[in-house]
Symmetry: C2
Subunit: 350 residues, 2 copies
DNA sequence: TATTAGCACTCACATAAAACGAGTGCTAAT
DNA sequence: ATTAGCACTCGTTTTATGTGAGTGCTAATA
């Protein structure tokens, strides 16, 4: 069925221009693009007939499709992909005047507040849904650990990271300890663990400390408590805002698309896993339609960017919208937001 | 226009039975109830014509309405209200075998996890949307307060309440203090403030302590820090789960209804305010359609119940659904959940 | 050889007319 | 007070019909 040789041909300049314009037009109007009106609107000095020939070629190569015979053309995922690639090629990531800086930088010191306001901002500006994957606590650096006695056999462990994350965890112990002892432990633990990422601590530092001759036996309990507290440091969290925007879109009213949305709301984990894959990838990542390899989500695109603390990528921000998304507007937004968050978090963890 | 005298008449037994059955039928089918098929289905020994007369009366009294001339009847808010009242009259709140106890009581010790699992449970079981209003921290009782030095001029204040809530707050101070001093302060504050609700502390205890001659001046700083930390203890939080369920409902696909939903997602505060009104009211509260006095929400009903810690009502749980909700199923669910949460929280704050 | 005019054909969509059917209100008989 | 009977209403479904923006193909043109 598929004509592979046609599939793989390079587009000549005219075809490329036509394809990009068609995608652009379709994104703008949402209506299948027909030859006559299109030629006119975009002032191609071509007849509709020639345009039809070009369209026909583009269709055979898999960039366009017809919703039904004798309708105009609509981009396929491959078509969008071509358009987006062209866009990214010519994309200049020096920012002019997006003027969202102050919004983000309103000195939100509470980390979870930052997540909320960033996702909100992404959704409001893009008019689609904003998402943000919080840093996995495991990759943040411990600043301070403190043990507080709640009951004679229950200890509250408080872990503060350089980023300003505050993790709390109740730990049950079998022996009795006094608050004074716990304070000692706190100092000991903070001294030894400070400066390492939670991950490093779990992987290496605990062992090293236990092996170390200098560690007195009664510090073993301190290590036990810390180890338990760190054992299940919560996962990265995902935040979504603005699904309302997606519900408002005409193309989403359709049955199957609506289901995609429900799935996104319902199982945030799906999205989380997808985003997690792109933490390590630098720059802008775009997934179009079926490129999101999850049967439950269709007809959607994701524009995402990772953000870092210092040089270490730790999380991601993004926008979810219909495949027919205004990439031209969303790409710089996500790119900028990623960098802004990087800056903010890096500053915070100094 | 309105015939007040008719409006206020009591329903006789037959009318009452008919009305309740019509509402029941409409809840079950979602289709306007017509005389002929209705008489047949519910084996009234009456002719359709008589039924029409009864319906006509019920309509004039405001319990029913016709979507259009020559369609069957549909309950008005007043009709639902009558039905729900009948239901509540005969409602026996001793629980048989709802078998959700173990789900709730899986010894979730983290309070926020409890909120999530309770709302999830409400939505899954009811097939509508579950909501839960967390206790306002102000009404929970302080168990312990601890100050930890983050920077030379930054203190992390940790407040643990009897319910197991853990509040953290960073406070900037102008003078330098050592961790040892802070530990002293922590003991002092815990000793003095423990056992009072955050509200009481803010309203009275601070003043009393400051007035108290025995309070040495260097404890003033401790009080200052605590006061700042307590000044903006976060509000009660609201949790919603299962809006997907509402989107699935056929009647919600309609334009205006969809907007209501968007409003609920978008502005959780609206819902929060509504729920807050019902914290103090004991037992089951039901708001039907326009009884939810907010222009932005229409076509929805809310079934809510407060929950307590000990004897003090502190929060609320509930279910949001269409006015055409299966009240018969939802009322016991919400009632039970409220009581279960009460039990759980009361136990936890021992 | 690439482009274009011309033309028959397709098909979603809009509009109108007709048939359907579940429902009503009213009146007169039981 | 109840009911049978009947004309009438009106949303829904079905069928028919026209419209228009679009197509593919062919043959003429530059």
């Amino acid at each position: 069925m598929k004509k592979v040789f046609e599939n793989e041909r390079m587009l000549d300049e005219r075809e490329s221009a036509v394809l990009n314009s068609i995608v652009y037009e379709y994104i703008a109007t949402g209506k299948a693009v027909g030859s006559r009106s299109f030629v006119q609107k975009y002032s191609f000095s071509l007849s509709p007939a020639t345009m039809r020939n070009i369209m026909y070629d583009l269709e055979r190569m898999g960039y366009l499709m017809q919703p039904h015979t004798s309708a105009g053309r609509v981009p396929t995922d491959k078509g969008y992909r071509y358009y987006v690639n062209s866009l990214l090629d010519s994309y200049d990531s020096t920012f002019q005047d997006l003027e969202i800086e102050e919004k983000i930088f309103q000195r939100e010191l509470q980390l979870d507040k930052i997540f909320e306001s960033v996702t909100k901002m992404l959704s409001v500006i893009s008019n689609y849904a904003g998402v943000m994957l919080s840093p996995n606590p495991d990759f943040t650096i411990l600043k301070l650990i403190e043990l507080i006695q709640l009951e004679s056999n229950e200890v509250l462990v408080i872990i503060v990271t350089r980023t300003g994350m505050i993790l709390t965890k109740k730990v049950n112990i079998s022996v009795r300890v006094t608050q004074d002892e716990l304070s000692e432990y706190s100092k000991f633990l903070t001294r030894e663990l400070c400066g390492y990422s939670l991950n490093q601590i779990k992987e290496n530092i605990f062992k090293e400390l236990r092996d170390d001759r200098r560690t007195s036996t009664n510090k073993e309990l301190a290590l036990d408590i810390a180890q338990i507290a760190l054992s299940e440091t919560g996962d990265a969290k995902i935040n979504i805002d603005g699904i309302e925007n997606l519900l408002r879109l005409p193309e989403m009213v359709e049955e199957s698309r609506l289901k995609s949305l429900l799935n996104i709301i319902e199982e945030k984990n799906i999205l989380k896993e997808i985003l997690e894959q792109y933490i390590e990838t630098d720059g802008i990542n775009i997934l179009i339609g079926e490129e999101i390899e999850n049967e439950k989500i269709s007809g959607c695109s994701l524009v995402a960017s990772s953000y870092k603390i210092g040089n270490k990528p730790v999380g991601a921000v993004g926008v979810i919208g219909p495949t027919r998304m205004d990439y031209e507007k969303v790409v710089p937004l996500v790119d900028y937001t990623g960098k802004a968050v990087t800056g903010l978090l890096t500053k915070m963890s100094k």
